[in-house]
């Protein structure tokens, strides 16, 4: 009897251990790293036949890193394009071209061709990204201006061979040093889409074709870079559809309002010498807005505070002798920022897309009032009166007290 019981006990233990091992260690639905093809950026276009055309940029781990000259021998990424009726199908079809299993969690960019959002709206594309378990919600969404996302993903960058890494570098740089692109992840994009009184915006992306290099000297093993790319501006949506664009400075105008500008350069005419330019480096800025509604009349007041240093002047200044120049320079910077803000708001009003969130402000503070305005917001928004108050404080002037002057 006793060995029998011992046997039962051991069997039970073994079964438990096996089950726990198979399940917790992920042996069941396992994914080995050498069997995966990491998608680094994904582009979606409309194919000539009207389907979804998906372009994936895969990392080529073998060509990454290593010796310096190796990078110039082989591109560290490769691009595959498939077609499908849905995003899911098109993604699975990448398997026709990729010997390894396409793997999405490391993807940082979802780039869409401009036409596709104008014609189809967002619905057919976003669902896959937020429903599937693989895509990350912290990825960025971008709209490629005037070219297709397929061509965009072929772009290469000097200095950083893996183009999705390079794109991320440019994106971070623009967000931290310029503020000319919107800082929006897919999560925030979807939140804007679903929230009351605010419309989504996405990063704008542009391909820069380069003139072919005729005089190739040295190693002809690899083609020269045909095209590079950059980011900038914002794609503006209304509901599901792409309705227009904000250029870089208009996007910065929007970012001033939202308080998302971190560090940037502001230029304005030199006080007294209108043909010369002064530029000021803004170090930090805060922005907020208030919206008041009385009946059909809605007024928004925007308040921006910025702190900066003098960047450079084209007309010599002597701040020791003319202390009142500070206020003039500050006023100049203020007028530029005000101009950017009013341009941004005007463009948004022309497009009829409340990307600032004026409606959201009312909804959050006064949901009852929003219920009465909601239906007519399309008519109310373009007529909102916006008053802007910008304060710029210039602190320092660099390491010289007085400009150099020729005698």
């Amino acid at each position: 009897m006793i060995p029998n019981r011992w046997l039962v006990h051991m069997t039970a233990c073994l079964v438990t251990i096996t089950l726990v091992m198979t399940v917790t260690s992920g042996c069941w639905s396992r994914k080995e790293i050498e069997d995966l093809a990491f998608v680094m950026a994904m582009g979606v276009d409309r194919s000539p036949s009207g389907n979804i055309q998906m372009t994936a940029q895969f990392a080529k781990p073998g060509a990454m890193g290593g010796a310096q000259d190796q990078a110039s021998q082989e591109k560290p990424f490769w691009v595959a394009t498939t077609e499908g009726d849905t995003m899911f199908e098109a993604f699975r079809k990448l398997g026709y071209l990729s010997p390894k299993r396409p793997y999405l969690p490391h993807n940082d960019f979802y780039l869409f061709g401009e036409d596709i959002f104008r014609e189809f709206g967002l619905k057919p594309f976003l669902d896959f990204i937020i429903r599937d378990t693989e895509p990350r919600l912290s990825a960025r969404i971008g709209v490629v201006r005037s070219t297709s996302a397929k061509d965009f993903l072929q772009a290469e960058f000097e200095g950083m061979p893996l183009s999705s890494e390079a794109l991320r570098g440019i994106m971070n740089h623009l967000m931290n040093a310029w503020g000319t692109i919107p800082d929006i992840t897919i999560r925030e994009f979807v939140d804007r889409m679903e929230s009351e009184g605010i419309e989504p915006i996405a990063m704008g992306a542009e391909l820069i074709p380069l003139a072919p290099d005729v005089e190739i000297e040295g190693d002809p093993t690899r083609e020269q870079i045909k095209a590079t790319a950059t980011l900038g501006g914002a794609a503006v949506f209304k509901g599901d559809y792409l309705v227009g664009w904000l250029d870089g400075f208009e996007t910065r105008g929007l970012n001033w309002i939202l308080g998302k500008v971190k560090n940037t350069v502001v230029e304005f005419p030199h006080p007294g010498h209108e043909d010369k330019i002064v530029s000021v480096g803004i170090l930090r800025a805060t922005g907020k807005f208030k919206v008041e509604a009385e009946g059909n009349r809605v007024r928004a007041s925007i308040e921006v505070n910025a702190v900066g240093n003098l960047g450079c002047v084209q007309e010599p200044v002597d701040l020791m002798k003319e202390p009142e120049l500070w206020t003039k320079l500050e006023a100049g910077a203020q007028s530029t920022i005000e101009d950017e803000i009013s341009r941004a708001v005007a463009t948004l009003q022309r497009l009829g897309s409340d990307a600032v969130g004026f409606g959201q402000y009312i909804f959050r503070r006064n949901p009852r009032q929003w219920a009465t305005l909601r239906e007519r917001w399309d008519e109310i928004f373009p007529a909102i009166e916006v008053s802007t108050s910008v304060k710029v404080h210039l602190r320092e002037m660099g390491v010289i007290l007085k400009s150099t002057e020729s005698r």
Binding site: S29, P105, T133, R136, D191, E194, S195, F363, R365
Partner: protein
């Protein structure tokens, strides 16, 4: 007197078991947020639910403390007579088995949905239920010790709520009450029904060593888990805005948002393994309670042989109850807020009725209808 359960637990362990039960699979699915209108001010609904649960659980514990050495199965027979008391007890036992199945399925479905779509949900259910049933078979003390370990999960959950701070925007918490109070009452009903799963405390109280602390620790349970759940709802809204209500596994998605310094990412495996452990302990407590209840109801000598069959029943139920996760969520937010209060509160209402009736009509002979298996005279405690 047949001593089916010999173990004794401390009041702290009692609290740990209750905390683990409250914070498990439901934490993954988070039904009190999911699917309800007006997610932005969900904390209002949470607070209403916590207040209600505090009162209801207090009443349940107080009734149990009148019979400090009897489980709810035993004193229901003492109060309502052998037949009706038996039926009431059977209802509770049935609910525990059912809820073990629901919990197992919720955990399994969440894992399948979020991590391993190819793995059959049956595997996760079998693993957690087997773990729980095995613990239950060894008695309450084992489950209690496991739960002490698993309570770390509560702490972990609390930390997880702070970590995605980069993605949080507290402006999302506005507006307050845009759709009036009614969505919050529904939400509070969901929350209360989740708290009523703690009705297993009726089985545990006789085995708590220090009965003076039971009431206090029950309140702690409600307050601690309530605070964590409220904080969780706030964190979810701060990160996801209105999307918090449309996510199937909001907590998992929240954990996925954690990014610290671009390298501290993808740590979801830590909370997930803890939730797996929690579900196991939770199911263990339910299986222990239902098998002990059945043993006491039918006057069996031992309850241990019942644990595996009940576990098997829970696995079976977990598989057949819901076709998919959507049905499960629909149960959690639609049917559960009606069904669970109906069963648990209905039974306790009957028990209270019986209790008051006995008090009024037979002030001296409170115990006249008690089964032979009585250990002590409940009048001692008055």
């Amino acid at each position: 007197m047949k001593q089916q359960e010999r173990g004794r637990i401390s009041a702290f362990q009692y609290m740990c078991i209750l905390l683990v039960i409250r914070m498990t699979a439901t934490t993954v699915a988070f039904p009190f947020m999911t699917g309800h209108e007006s997610p932005t001010d969900a904390w209002i609904g949470a607070l209403i639910g916590i207040g209600g649960s505090l009162v209801l659980l207090e009443l349940m514990v107080r009734l149990s403390l009148y019979f400090p050495d009897m489980t709810v199965v035993q004193f229901s027979q003492a109060l309502l007579g052998k037949f009706f008391g038996g039926i009431a007890a059977l209802l509770l036992v049935g609910f525990w088995v059912f809820d073990a199945a629901v919990t197992a399925r919720a955990m399994g479905s969440a894992l399948v949905n979020a991590f391993m779509p190819e793995t059959p949900v049956l595997v996760f259910i079998i693993v957690t239920v087997f773990f729980g049933a095995n613990g239950a078979r060894q008695g309450l003390e084992i489950t209690a010790r496991w739960s002490e370990l698993a309570t770390v999960g509560v702490l972990m959950t609390a930390i997880m709520l702070v970590l995605p701070f980069k993605a949080m925007s507290f402006q999302n918490l506005l507006p307050i009450l845009p759709y009036g109070l009614s969505p919050h009452l529904k939400r509070a009903a969901t929350m209360t029904s989740m708290f009523l799963r703690l009705s297993v405390l009726g089985m545990m109280i006789p085995y708590v060593r220090n009965k003076k602390d039971v009431l206090r620790y029950t309140r702690y349970t409600v307050i601690v888990s309530g605070i964590v759940l409220t904080a969780q709802s706030i964190a979810l809204v701060a990160v996801f805005g209105s999307r918090a209500a449309t996510s199937a596994v909001p907590t998992l998605q929240l954990v996925r948002q954690i990014t610290i310094g671009e390298f501290f990412e993808r740590i979801e495996i830590i909370p997930v393994s803890l939730w797996l452990l929690n579900s196991g302990v939770n199911i263990g407590a339910f299986i222990w309670a239902s098998s002990l209840g059945l043993a006491q109801l039918f006057n069996l000598n031992r309850f241990e042989p019942l644990t595996y069959p009940i576990g098997g029943l829970a696995v079976l139920l977990g598989m057949v109850l819901f076709k998919n996760y959507v049905e499960q969520v629909r149960y959690l937010i639609g049917l559960q807020p009606i069904l669970v209060p109906l069963v648990v509160l209905g039974v306790y209402l009957l028990l209270y009725a019986g209790f008051i009736f006995k008090r009024l009509w037979f002030p001296k002979r409170t115990n006249s209808g008690a089964p032979a298996a009585l250990e002590a005279d409940p009048d001692d405690t008055k």
